[in-house]
């Protein structure tokens, strides 16, 4: 069913009894051309672009829970492409361009809202670094604007400009950045892929890889064996666990990242703002809740929940930036399991096992990358070559020394 104003009107006059399920429930067939492990945003986007761009529709997405039940449902929904490094910038900008056309492409309202992302700076040195980043972005054709303190004050008058320790000197603004509705992204990709013939198989956990003559021949799952010559892994958070079934040891640690939402209040903040002196970022959802987050807890974890010292640290960052936050109550907090790579950048590449492809290491930047990650992973699966905007995301870059370390902290995943 195609969604439009006409379909909405037709349903309205017939009492909304004619809506059909958004995607087709599928049971596993015995064999597929491609099997994607992981029914999150990245896996479903991969399936969609495999079908749409490459014409490969005999595809299964196998998901151990329900689609979007992992990190796709546990992020802070921010989209942006304000990266410095030449290996990252074209990829995230391609993702931003796909976000801009996503709803038309999927015929699904993903609530993409380009309300602006503002990174504040609090010292001359940080201002210089942001000038450099803004220039790098503009040289790659990405929008960036440097604002002085007066311009920031006009946008967000409630920030603590007089903070004695971290006065706000200005900010780097990407107006095309913003937010999207995380669940709608998952459902939109699932629907679009399903309509092109992709089987989305939920409650189907991969328990082992089938290997014949040294290459991939399929997967064993809790719903039986599925044969396939090509497997794409998109299981960020659990990459090490799934890869271990194939005998791979990867440059990844799993860490917990917490996020928070306040009670709903009237419109307060128009876009996304980040504190430059600590790690704190904030936006407001369409329901009115303030959505915010900060650093990783810092220790390896698969628990999907964090501890209080990080809650305190995030709230202190928030209070330093926006004293008015003290009047708002925190409603909920949750944790997601981050695939922290050793240089803070992702991996989209082949593995040493023929037929097994890897999409991993998204650290805590996976949501904004969803469209381009799917696009580039589909390209890799279909053509067996790296997409040109994702050439830097090779698995062998760690051994070869071609690291992609935006933050420059080295092989310390808890610091990225």
């Amino acid at each position: 069913m195609r969604y439009s104003i006409l379909s909405l009107m037709r349903q309205a006059i017939s009492g909304h009894r004619g809506w059909t399920p958004v995607w087709r429930e599928a049971a596993p067939k015995g064999a597929y051309d491609v099997v994607i492990i992981g029914g999150g945003g990245h896996g479903l986007a991969t399936a969609h672009y495999l079908a749409k761009v490459h014409g490969i529709t005999n595809v299964a997405v196998v998901e151990k829970g329900w689609v979007g039940s992992g990190n796709a449902g546990r992020n802070t929904t921010i989209i942006r492409s304000n990266y410095l490094l030449p290996g990252n910038n074209p990829f995230y900008e391609w993702s931003m361009k796909l976000w801009e056309g996503l709803e038309q492409d999927l015929n699904y309202n993903a609530m993409v809202s380009q309300r602006g992302v503002l990174n504040l700076y609090h010292s001359d040195a940080q201002g210089d670094a942001y000038v450099r980043r803004g220039n790098a972005m503009r040289m790659h054709g990405v929008d960036a604007e440097l604002l002085d303190a007066a311009a920031v004050r006009r946008m967000l008058p409630f920030l603590d400009f007089a903070n004695a320790r971290f006065p706000i000197q200005g900010g780097l603004l990407q107006r095309r950045g913003g937010t999207a509705r995380h669940d709608a992204v998952v459902w939109g990709y699932a629907r679009a892929a399903s309509e092109r013939g992709v089987d989305i198989i939920q409650n189907c956990e991969v328990t082992d890889f089938i290997r014949e003559n040294g290459r991939i021949a399929g997967v064993q799952t809790t719903r039986g064996a599925i044969r396939t010559p090509k497997i794409g892994m998109a299981v960020a958070g659990n990459t090490s666990r799934v890869a271990r079934m194939a005998g791979l040891k990867l440059p990844i640690e799993s860490h917990v990242l917490q996020a928070f939402v306040s009670e709903a209040i009237k419109p307060f903040i128009p876009g996304v703002v980040t504190f430059g002196a600590g790690h704190f970022y904030l936006s407001q959802s369409d329901k009115g809740g303030l959505v915010f987050g900060g650093d990783l807890d810092g220790y390896n974890s698969y628990a999907q929940r964090g501890n209080l010292p990080t809650v305190e640290d995030v709230c202190e960052g928030g209070m330093s930036l926006i004293p008015a936050l003290g009047r708002v109550r925190m409603l909920r907090s949750w944790g997601g399991v981050m695939d922290m790579s050793m240089d803070g950048s992702p991996i989209i590449d082949r593995t040493p096992i023929e037929g097994l492809y890897l999409n991993a290491g998204w650290c805590y930047g996976g949501f904004k990358a969803t469209p381009a990650s799917g696009w580039c992973f589909a390209h890799l699966l279909a053509r067996d070559e790296l997409h040109h905007v994702a050439r830097a995301y090779r698995l062998d870059r760690f051994a070869g020394g071609h690291l992609l370390d935006e933050k420059g902290v080295g092989a310390q995943p808890n610091l990225h």
């Binding site: 040891k249 440059p251 220790y299 390896n300 501890n307 050793m342 051994a399 995943p413």
Partner: protein
């Protein structure tokens, strides 16, 4: 999460700094395959879901380095001991690197 420091007793997580996987063993730099072994030690991780041996620094307590066995699925602390021997064996002690 609270960690049972062998010197100070049970203390809150906020007193400790994390240094990560305790299995690091500095490879012999004169070995013929030293480059491959350094790569594996520096970059590759088992990253288990379950018991994990890791190093913690009691930064605002006794400043001891601790070897902690912890379940990464539940955050349950399964065992704690001084890591002194580890440093002599593995050469990982670089104060200030664990944040």
């Amino acid at each position: 999460m609270r960690i049972q420091c062998p010197y100070c007793g049970e203390r809150d997580l906020s007193e400790f700094a994390y240094h990560g996987d305790a299995s690091f063993k500095r490879p012999d730099s004169d070995a013929p395959d030293a480059q491959a072994r350094f790569f594996a030690e520096v970059y590759l991780r088992d990253n288990p879901a379950g018991p994990h041996e890791e190093l913690w620094y009691h930064a605002t307590g006794c400043r001891s380095w601790l070897r902690v066995r912890r379940n990464t699925r539940t955050h349950e602390i399964l065992g704690v001991e001084f890591a002194k021997g580890d440093f002599a064996k593995h050469d990982v002690a670089r104060p200030g690197t664990g944040s």
